[in-house]
């Protein structure tokens, strides 16, 4: 994001008419990093690139000689700043360097998450496995095995915020299909579940309180028209924040093409919030052709350039993955309703595991979580970790 440019240094040099430029494309400026992470750079040179070196906190962690210019490295779990440097050199010796300092997180003692809850989906050959018992699970927090204290299946009540993008790119039948999808989702709520609806464009259009009455939740939805800009990041942040004090399972279901031209917050800002939150984020992603034919939004604006948009989409997907949710790509309008219903079904089929971390220190560190199932041939999906506050 451009306003973060103060922490990004991009230098280029020329030798014998050759020029080279390097820019760090991942992580985004302002993003907090923990554990295993990817460093990616874009190198533009007027001649062949000989090598690109990656340095973290003064230590060389990798070198590549051809695109893609990226490495994966472990920066550790400490809540500290990291200095990332990428150095590119061309065949004739021209070189350039980019550096980025990732921030640490301020630690707050006001709110602590004591009981860690994990929402775990187990599948085998594409089908959900619903017959597991507590004894079948093992939970590791920062590599240390934890005692599972609470165990339940998907009937644990949930609190969901449905976020509907109502910007110009949703014009036409897209918005109507999105509204129908939200209806289908709320219709699937059970007695103890609660929901809220946020419809937005460059501003909020509809905001409902949390409740269990679909009629209340859907009261204003029909009046929303598709026009104006997009503020997905701002509203995803708002949803995560509003879920912070809710009990039970917390879920955000976002329906959007993921583009965002007018938020004051970046996707990296929201990623930070998502890591603090225990909410699951599902993204029903509208792609080209989903009811809007030629009216695809343009990937440039006064606020963003194309590279920014690419980062936005990547970071949004990262938010979803780290939360333990899922991106559901939708290319046909008829798929939107079933996608919402499938999210609800998936939530019902999750196992809910609770434990008190033995490693908790409230120091803002990133904890990695691994869940193992003592059964062969199954896949396990849950969130990748959490920030220890």
């Amino acid at each position: 994001m451009r306003s973060w440019i103060g922490v990004v240094l991009a230098l280029s040099a020329a030798v014998a008419h050759a020029s080279v430029e390097v820019v760090i494309t991942h992580p985004a400026p302002g993003e907090v990093v923990f554990g295993e992470m990817r460093i990616a750079a874009e190198v533009r040179a007027s001649e062949a690139v000989a090598r690109v070196s990656f340095v973290v906190d003064g230590r060389k962690v990798g070198e590549v000689t051809g695109p893609p210019y990226e490495v994966v490295t472990d920066v550790g779990a400490e809540n500290v700043e990291h200095r990332l440097q990428v150095l590119a050199r061309t065949v004739s010796g021209a070189s350039a360097e980019a550096s980025l300092v990732t921030p640490r997180i301020a630690v707050d003692q006001e709110v602590t998450y004591e009981l860690q809850q994990l929402y775990v989906l187990v599948t085998a050959f594409g089908k959900r496995v619903l017959t597991l018992e507590k004894a079948n699970f093992e939970v590791f927090d920062d590599g240390e095995r934890q005692e599972i204290l609470t165990f339940a299946r998907g009937d644990v009540p949930l609190t969901a915020v449905v976020l509907l993008d109502s910007s110009l790119s949703m014009k036409g039948p897209r918005l109507a299909a999105a509204q129908a999808g939200a209806r289908a989702f709320f219709a699937g709520m059970r007695a103890l579940d609660e929901g809220a609806l946020l419809v937005y464009k460059d501003r909020s259009l509809v905001r409902t309180p949390f409740c269990n009455v679909p009629e209340v939740l859907l009261a204003g939805i029909s009046s929303a028209a598709a026009d104006g800009g997009t503020t997905t990041n701002d509203h995803l942040y708002m949803a995560l924040k509003l879920l912070e004090r809710r009990q039970g399972r917390r879920v955000v279901v976002l329906l959007s093409d993921g583009l965002d031209a007018h938020s004051v917050l970046s996707a990296s800002d929201v990623l930070l919030k998502a890591r603090q939150s225990q909410a699951l984020v599902y993204w029903i992603r509208l792609r080209k052709g989903a009811g809007n034919g030629s009216e695809e939004p343009q990937l440039f604006s006064a606020w963003r350039d194309a590279a920014w948009y690419r980062r936005q989409l990547g970071t949004l997907a990262e938010i979803v993955a780290q939360s333990g949710g899922r991106v559901q790509v939708v290319r046909e309008l008829a798929e939107i309703g079933p996608a919402f219903e499938e999210v609800m079904r998936e939530l019902r089929d999750q196992y809910v595991l609770g434990y008190y971390p033995t490693t908790q220190k409230n120091d803002g560190r990133w904890h990695t979580i691994k869940v193992k199932v003592t059964r062969l041939g199954v896949e396990v999906r849950t969130r990748e970790g959490y920030l220890d506050f």
């Binding site: 994001m1 451009r2 306003s3 973060w4 440019i5 103060g6 922490v7 400026p29 302002g30 040179a45 007027s46 062949a48 690139v49 695109p67 065949v91 921030p103 997180i105 301020a106 630690v107 707050d108 003692q109 006001e110 709110v111 460059d202 501003r203 909020s204 259009l205 509809v206 905001r207 309180p209 104006g228 800009g229 503020t231 701002d234 942040y237 708002m238 924040k241 509003l242 912070e244 004090r245 031209a261 007018h262 938020s263 004051v264 917050l265 800002d269 930070l272 919030k273 603090q276 080209k288 030629s294 695809e296 343009q298 990937l299 440039f300 604006s301 006064a302 606020w303 194309a306 948009y309």
Partner: protein
């Protein structure tokens, strides 16, 4: 003495074939390429970024040197010898790349495409190479997917000897590639010169938007690369109908030695003879293509099954040199479709000209003007005659109907004729009364708006050109600071309208021209900067914004945009100063909100969330009510670890009534600047009564002249 590559008196030292295409025939011939269409517009408003890479990618070299041909990516190609240097020849090339096979399943993902050309000398050694990397972003240019493909133009320097050119097109994201070879792209001098072994076809004019570098100040609307003569485009893949007569163009230099017919052979893909044939030699057109003349050849296409063939043509040397051979690939088809518009990319350094037809219209003789579109000229005179007795609305209505009924095809010839005809009348009237030019310019500006509203595309294109021409005429005839201001504002208002209709390149050109006429033209400086900002050219945008702020230090929007662009390029000090002044001064509410937001974002970015928090709290205390300010404050409180306060604030925001709330400040910023354009228009319309009176007077005088 070594014979020159192109010596006068020796026949056809360079030789090629072309299929000529006329709007109405000859029957049975058409050049189906990615170029042209009558509109002359690149369907992709933002040109593809094409960068020349100097390295030779190892994988590309391996593929090219392997000798294989084919692959999954389809393209067609031609080369034309353009100029001769000391021991070298500049070979111009055109490459039409098929999007469908190139992009495959990754149709909506950004992709980089590498295009490598190798010139191979007789022994198979590489004597010249060129690599270009094009960035394709289907989201930025959906036409890449919907049109048949896109076209790359460039040049390659090769030594003076016989060369084949091998071409590799590679999708860097998927690895899909296509390899092809053009045998004898350049003929060895010892054999009599160069051979262009590909077809050339004259097609309707094309104007090609090209950004010649990423940091170009303006995405310029440019004519074709210089070696593609204005008004022509070149086909890389001619389609013909069996049994029909087509006209070929044979590039060469000198005199064709006596003969009126040439022997030809149609061969198949493997070089096997399919049919012998004969071609009739016609007229010569001097200097029509690069450094070559073009000879017309007529050829009746044999009755062949639909398939790809090659026409092999033998031309005798004039000074006892050996015969030359040319190869024309052609495809026999059952029916012909009109060419689709092209998406262009080019590597040539080309100059931004004024629109050729506009320049020509100024330079045209009275006779030429009188000959141009006589019906429109007569009708236009008659419609303007109403100005002597009626109000301007009657004139507007009459010109509207006239242009709508007569301007239908949008062909370059029609548009040029219309411009000649109406500008001719306007020049006559301005000769009587200079102010008439302003009246006419305003009249056509209003007509332009009406055509835009009614989606009358051809008259709209004409209205753009005539307004531009009349603004220039007004500035030249009046030659006063006031006329310069008005002329610049006219162009800026027109450019603003184009900008809103996504004609960014044309808008940029007009804004730029407006700033040349009046360096302090605020709407033009702002519009130009906004366009540059939107295309990511932040430093050039800053240059225009600095000029604006210098001319109008109180211009709040200009200062805000300047500050934001300074932040983008790392000039934090200047940006901070501007933003702090904006939050303190009496500026429009939307400007103040964004100034607070950006200042806070900058403070967070330099890891001072405490200062950002204080700033945002102060904004709220000063009554700057905005949902995004609240949201940003919640985020900053989160960063400070004050999660509970952040939650309370967000809950408070969520609890407030929502609603449409109008346009947010950040959306307002992202829209095209309009306030100054509206003000300029209002100023211009104040001049309308006097200009109308001048027009009426000029019409009366002209009528009297005519009567005498």
């Amino acid at each position: 003495m070594r014979r020159g590559w192109l010596g006068v008196g020796s026949w056809a030292l360079a030789l090629g074939l072309a299929v000529q295409v006329h709007a109405a025939g000859p029957e049975g011939a058409a050049a189906v390429t990615r170029a042209g269409g009558d509109t002359g517009e690149n369907p992709c408003e933002r040109p593809l970024t094409a960068a020349r890479a100097h390295g030779l990618p190892a994988r590309a070299a391996a593929l090219l040197m392997s000798g294989q041909q084919g692959g999954g990516v389809a393209f067609s190609f031609l080369a034309v010898p353009l100029a001769r240097g000391t021991g070298s020849i500049t070979l111009g090339y055109l490459l039409d790349i098929d999007s469908t096979s190139l992009l495959g399943e990754r149709r909506d993902a950004p992709t980089a495409v590498e295009v490598t050309l190798y010139a191979l000398a007789g022994g198979g050694s590489v004597s010249a190479a060129s690599t270009a990397v094009l960035e394709l972003e289907p989201d930025l240019c959906p036409e890449l997917l919907s049109a048949p493909g896109f076209r790359l133009a460039g040049t390659l320097e090769v030594p003076e000897s016989q060369h084949a050119v091998r071409i590799l097109v590679r999708n860097l994201a998927t690895g899909a590639f296509g390899v092809g070879e053009l045998p004898r792209a350049v003929q060895a001098p010892a054999e009599g010169g160069g051979v262009v072994a590909t077809p050339l076809a004259v097609e309707p004019a094309v104007f090609i938007p090209v950004a010649d570098s990423a940091s170009a100040e303006v995405v310029r609307q440019l004519a074709a690369p210089a070696w593609l003569e204005p008004g022509t485009a070149v086909s890389t893949r001619p389609l013909v109908l069996a049994g029909k007569v087509v006209r070929l163009l044979l590039p060469g230099r000198g005199m064709l030695p006596g003969t009126r017919t040439l022997a030809g052979r149609v061969v198949d893909r493997k070089g096997g003879l399919v049919r012998a044939c004969e071609l009739t030699v016609g007229e010569k057109r001097g200097g029509a293509l690069g450094m070559l003349d073009l000879w017309e050849l007529e050829w009746k296409v044999p009755d062949l099954e639909p398939e790809l063939y090659f026409l092999e043509l033998t031309v005798p040397g004039v000074l006892g040199g050996s015969s030359l051979q040319a190869f024309l690939p052609f495809i026999v088809v059952d029916s012909l479709a009109p060419p689709a518009p092209a998406v262009w990319a080019a590597l040539d350094d080309v100059q931004a000209p004024e629109e050729p037809s506009l320049r020509d219209a100024y330079m045209a003789s009275r006779g030429a003007r009188d000959e141009a579109h006589p019906r429109l000229r007569a009708g236009y005179r008659e419609a303007l005659g109403l100005a002597a007795s009626s109000d301007l609305e009657a004139v507007r209505a009459a010109v509207y109907e006239l242009e709508k009924s007569l301007l239908t095809s949008g062909s370059p010839r029609e548009l040029e004729g219309a411009l000649f005809a109406e500008l001719g009348v306007a020049k006559d009237l301005a000769g009587e009364q200079p102010d008439a030019a302003l009246g006419l310019a305003l009249l056509h500006l209003q007509l332009h708006d009406r055509y835009v509203r009614n989606q009358a595309f051809v008259p709209q294109a004409h209205a753009r050109r005539i307004v531009e021409a009349l603004a220039e005429l007004w500035v030249k005839r009046r030659a006063s600071p006031e006329a310069s201001r008005q002329g610049a504002e006219l162009l800026a208002v027109l450019a603003g309208s184009l900008q809103k209709n996504n004609l960014d390149a044309s808008a940029a050109r007009l804004f730029k021209r407006a700033t040349e006429i009046d360096p302090g033209c605020v709407p033009a400086l702002l519009g130009l900067a906004a366009g540059l900002e939107r295309s990511g050219a932040y430093r050039p945008a800053i240059r225009f914004l600095e000029r604006l702020v210098e001319a109008r230090p109180d211009h709040a929007e200009g200062r805000l945009r300047l500050a934001i662009n300074h932040l983008r390029v790392g000039s934090d000090g200047r940006a901070e100063k501007l933003l702090r002044s904006l939050v303190e001064e009496d500026v429009p509410a939307w400007v103040r909100v964004i100034a607070y937001q950006e200042l806070a974002r900058w403070l967070v970015g330099k890891r001072d969330p405490e200062a950002a928090c204080r700033l945002l709290v102060a904004a709220r205390q000063r009554g700057v009510g905005d949902e995004q300010i609240d949201l940003q404050l919640a985020f900053v409180l989160d960063r400070l670890g004050r999660l509970a306060e952040a939650y309370e604030l967000m809950a408070h925001v969520a609890g407030r009534a929502s609603g449409t709330g109008g346009t947010s400040p950040r959306l307002r910023y992202a829209e095209w600047p309009d306030d100054d354009l509206k003000a300029a228009r209002a100023q211009l319309e104040k001049a309308l009564p006097a200009a109308r009176a001048a027009l009426a007077e000029a019409v009366r005088r002209s009528a009297k002249e005519g009567a005498r």
